[in-house]
């Protein structure tokens, strides 16, 4: 953090201001951990109760898309961290470039997820009146797909919000004269983006990799 950056009157210096902002972001992320945690708990209980049906239902998800999407999010976290670094060193062009590339990775993730959703909805796997599943008890299988669409849907919503913020920040990086004003904000956006990546890191094996060997 540079010395010339603006400090609000309640803070001693820029470093303390930045610390307070980071702390606030982590408080928000702690609530997000519990928000997603409740859904993971629901998944765990039903998976323990119906392991066989969950295994059969999981085979209907497209593992290739899931794996590529995991790779895309990991790469996007790498470009995000480079954007944070560029903001810190006030490299305007690098900041704009890395924010844009991260946004593009996010969009690629959402497009692939959309293709997978379309496939599953066509197969009649969306939990609703048209739901059909012949291999096992459809009422139980529907629970897997209910959790699947809920958890990946809420995650995709987070990715969408992240992409919108990345685009806004890239525009701000183009238009603002004082880049140091943006540095802390980019840092916080980075924390949010990495958190969304972490949620996917846990979703991926629980949805796509349920005992694939059998």
């Amino acid at each position: 953090m540079s010395a010339e950056s603006p400090v609000a009157h309640q803070f001693e210096d820029a470093a303390q201001q930045r610390e307070a902002a980071t702390l606030g972001m982590w408080v928000f992320l702690a609530t997000e951990v519990l928000f997603f945690g409740a859904m993971f708990l629901g998944y765990t209980v039903y998976r323990l109760k119906y392991p066989e049906v969950f295994r059969m239902a999981s085979e209907h998800t497209i593992i290739v898309i899931g794996t590529i999407n995991t790779g895309i999010l990991l790469l996007s976290s790498f470009t995000m961290v480079l954007a944070v670094r560029a903001a810190e060193f006030k490299r305007r062009m690098a900041l704009i470039a890395f924010l844009s590339v991260t946004a593009l990775f996010g969009i690629a993730f959402l497009v692939l997820k959309g293709f997978e959703y379309a496939h599953e909805i066509n197969e009649g796997l969306f939990p609703g009146s048209h739901f059909q599943f012949t291999e096992a008890d459809p009422y139980t299988a529907r629970m897997f797909f209910y959790l699947y669409f809920l958890m990946t849907g809420v995650h995709a919503l987070h990715v969408t919000i992240g992409v919108i913020m990345l685009v806004i920040f890239a525009l701000r990086a183009m238009l603002t004269l004082k880049l140091e004003r943006l540095s802390t904000a980019v840092d916080l956006l980075g924390l949010y983006w990495h958190f969304v990546d972490i949620v996917w890191v846990f979703l991926f094996p629980l949805i796509y990799l349920v005992d694939r060997h059998s």
């Binding site: 408080v27 790498f78 961290v81 924390l191 972490i198 890191v201 094996p205």
Partner: protein, 89 residues
């Protein structure tokens, strides 16, 4: 801090772990498939939190807030599952 080398290495490690977790899913480890997958996910999450989210270089107050978030999650999972797993119908 000035070099991007740690970031490149962490990204490489994350991709290696991704390949391992997909590979391990196709090997029959009996009851251990899911615990192994979760252990790998936990390692990936730790790398992201420590290096990408800069918690490694953060002050102790941030450390406490990070740990508390996951500690509450641990309470929710442990207490709920201790009930669910020990119920006799």
């Amino acid at each position: 801090m000035n070099s991007i080398k740690p970031y490149v290495m962490v990204t490489g490690a994350l991709f290696v772990l991704l390949v391992i977790t997909v590979g391990a899913a196709y090997v029959n480890l009996g009851a251990f498939n899911t615990p192994v997958a979760m252990l790998i996910s936990l390692s990936k999450a730790s790398l992201i939190v420590l290096f990408f989210m800069h918690v490694r270089h953060s002050n102790p107050l941030i450390h406490i807030f990070v740990l508390v978030g996951f500690f509450w999650l641990g309470i929710m999972l442990t207490l709920s599952l201790s009930d669910f797993l020990t119920r006799h119908p």
